[in-house]
Amino acid sequence: MQKHNVLLATLLMLSASLLANGQQESGEEGAAPVKIKAIFDRILTEENGQKEWAAAFGDLTGAKIDIVQPAHNQYSQILGATFAAGDLPDLLEIQTNDYLSYALSGNLVPLEDYIAASSEWKAVDPALVEAYRLKDGHIYGVPTYDGGGCVTYIRKDWLDKLGLEVPTTWEEYYDVLKAFTYDDPDGNGANDTMGLTLPFQTGYEFDYYNRFIMQEAMFGFQEKNGKWVDGFLQPEMIPALERFQKLYREKILDNEIFTNKTSTAREKIYQGQAGVMEYWSGTWAVRFNDSAQNAHPEAQVIPIEPIANAYYINRVGPAFSITKAAKNPEGVFDAFMNTMLDKGAGQALFTHGIEGKHFQKSDKEYMMLPEPSNPDRPFDKAYSDPTLVMNGWTPLVPQADLITLSRKIQSENALQLSLPQGGDMYIKRIGELLTIKQEIFSEVVVGRLTPAQAQEQYKAKAADLDLDAVLAELNS
């Protein structure tokens, strides 16, 4: 009997090793990737179980994934340096603003054929994928999630205390901000509140925020009547800048916006120093409300619909791309991009993580578990945002009402942005154009320039930086 067992075990081991060898070879020849070297930004950190996640991914797909995760606030810079050194990963996440540079670099693999052949990607709105198609006809990245966007959050309890309604027009919005600044909405008798806070956004993400003030105006390049134009030079920028100036002058807008980091601005909402801020829809809705309630139990922070003439935006989200370093790009696409949208175990792994480690089923329903790095807070995702699902899949873990509400308000009132696609001149000049735009914008807000002077000054300086050639490239 014992001999039989030994023989059986030997046979099993032999067949297992033959199978393993077979997998390895087929991986190298094109059927399935054996190893994926990846650089990711927003995946679980190591402390929160990244290695276990990678192991679970391997178990599910048969692909071994090695993940490098640079610090979030330096992700773009470190990725750029990695490429500059020629150390290409097989798979990477690319931030929206950098997508064009990488796509034009010649280092990425076109994905349109894999997308067309994938049954998983058929469930995704084609517009989401088409946003990544370049003028050369190729798609070099797929969305990591539905891009999403920001909504305006407001202290509902302050509105109630002051007898005000949720604003629906610019005039009402202005009155609310003014009352939040000067009518002691927290009732502490001190002049220590402000209407609106915001961080100074240094890139074209500026347009994700400030929509109630900007309204029709756009800071970056925008498509208008089928043609790309510089938003800063459009007529609607004048009233937008006037609104900024007015709010700043009257100290209704945080007078330290230029030195505010995103975290500083958020903290002002949490601590009850400011009553309004525009920020990301989704899980942030709960964080704003909960954090404000930690400091002031009576606080109630809610997302609101845009005022008349304003709209939110839906951005083009970060992309997943495969580089030419990948020996088996089709296999990488199948293992990673298809698994993340399989509406089953794969999508659950990407969205919620590992059952028992990142989420678990309680009596009735699934719930996320506390993060090891911050046990006071439950995980909100493993990698894919459950509030920004692209393929109609219903996440296992139900979302809080505030999250659902913020997403609903944002998506129902959002204009879809598209990526400006320039060439060499665009890439060469975009940074300096942005820098002078930021400077001139700042000078207008603090009242050193009138909006008309600002446009004149920008026009002159941008002409020296070949703005016409940049626009010609965008419109070619």
């Binding site: 490429f83 500059a84 540079s101 400077e439």
Partner: protein, 305 residues
């Protein structure tokens, strides 16, 4: 029998063998220098190439340099770097020497050590922490400095947002962090001054002030020259300090070469262009160091390099 001088001036191999332990001790430092300071210089060739995310492209000669010199952003950054660095050198050298001299006069050793430790501490704070601290201290929304200003009847100031105030504020913060640490070199030099000189001066009736002017300061001159030359070599190295304290409202007075290089190279992926600007910066810094050394050589009859 081989005499000592013949051995001392023997073949290179003989000398190498004789002092092998010293060379062995030097080896880690040498390897470090080669690996991290000399080998990277090979990358300077990228200044002359079209180099971005697409990789190293064609040789384009001096095109990046021409681009930089015709760019308003670069010329402004160059000017700001010169202004901020020069002011910083003058202020820091003056403060460092003054504080070192004052500390040298302290007779209570415990008090002296406490003061030294306290003024050294800021040097060990990272610039990110220093930036966050001063942004809070200088805020108009509950910041300590503006609270004091308001208490004295003044108007709150946006220290980090007003071009007229930014440079002064920046130089103050830079000095606050570095002056204490800078005294280390001067205090070491002061401890090496021959006490007999002071004894002789006292015999001649010199008071403390005259001792300082006629003995201490002249004894410090070689160290002052060395520190000055070392500072000149670093004149264009302003980065973290500016990066954590500047914002678009004050770019015109705060943007320096290193922040410009960072934006061009790391943010915009114009690696070739950023390398060219960096090389230009290094060449100017090198010229400054050589000039300062020559001036020192003419004035003092000896060079320090």
């Amino acid at each position: 029998m081989r005499n000592r001088s013949a051995y001392a001036y023997g073949s290179a191999w003989n000398r190498l063998w004789k002092f092998r332990m010293f060379y062995l001790l030097m080896l880690p430092g040498f390897v470090y220098l080669v690996l991290f300071h000399y080998l990277p210089m090979l990358g300077l060739r990228f200044s002359f190439y079209d180099y971005d995310l697409r990789g190293v492209g064609d040789f384009i000669g001096f095109e990046h340099f021409r681009d930089a010199l015709s760019s308003e952003g670069f010329t402004r950054a160059f000017k700001n770097t010169l202004i901020l660095s020069s002011a910083n050198i003058v202020i820091q050298m003056t403060l460092t020497i003054s504080i070192s001299l004052l500390l040298n006069e302290l007779k209570n050793k415990l008090f002296k050590r406490v003061v030294q430790t306290v003024i050294y501490l800021p040097h060990f704070l990272s610039w990110v922490v220093v930036g966050a601290l001063f942004t809070l201290f200088l805020s108009r929304q509950g910041g300590l400095v503006n609270a004091i200003l308001s208490g004295l009847g003044g108007e709150p100031k946006y220290f980090l947002g007003e071009p007229g105030l930014w440079r002064g504020t920046f130089l103050f913060i830079l000095s606050w962090r570095e002056v204490g640490w800078g005294t280390v070199v001067f205090l070491a030099a002061l401890s090496g001054v021959d006490p007999q000189l002071y004894e002789a001066a006292i015999m001649d009736g010199a008071n403390r002030w005259k001792q300082m002017i006629h003995i201490t300061l002249p004894q410090l001159v070689p160290v002052i020259v060395i520190v000055l030359i070392m500072n000149l070599a670093k004149i264009f190295n302003l980065f973290e300090s500016v990066f954590v304290l500047y914002n678009p409202l004050v770019y015109k007075v705060s943007d320096v070469i290193q922040t410009y290089v960072y934006r061009s190279g790391i943010i915009q992926f114009r690696f070739g262009y950023a390398t060219a600007v960096g090389l230009f910066r290094s060449v100017i810094a090198f010229a400054l160091v050589v000039s300062a050394n020559k001036i020192s050589s003419r004035l003092r009859g000896e060079s320090v390099l």
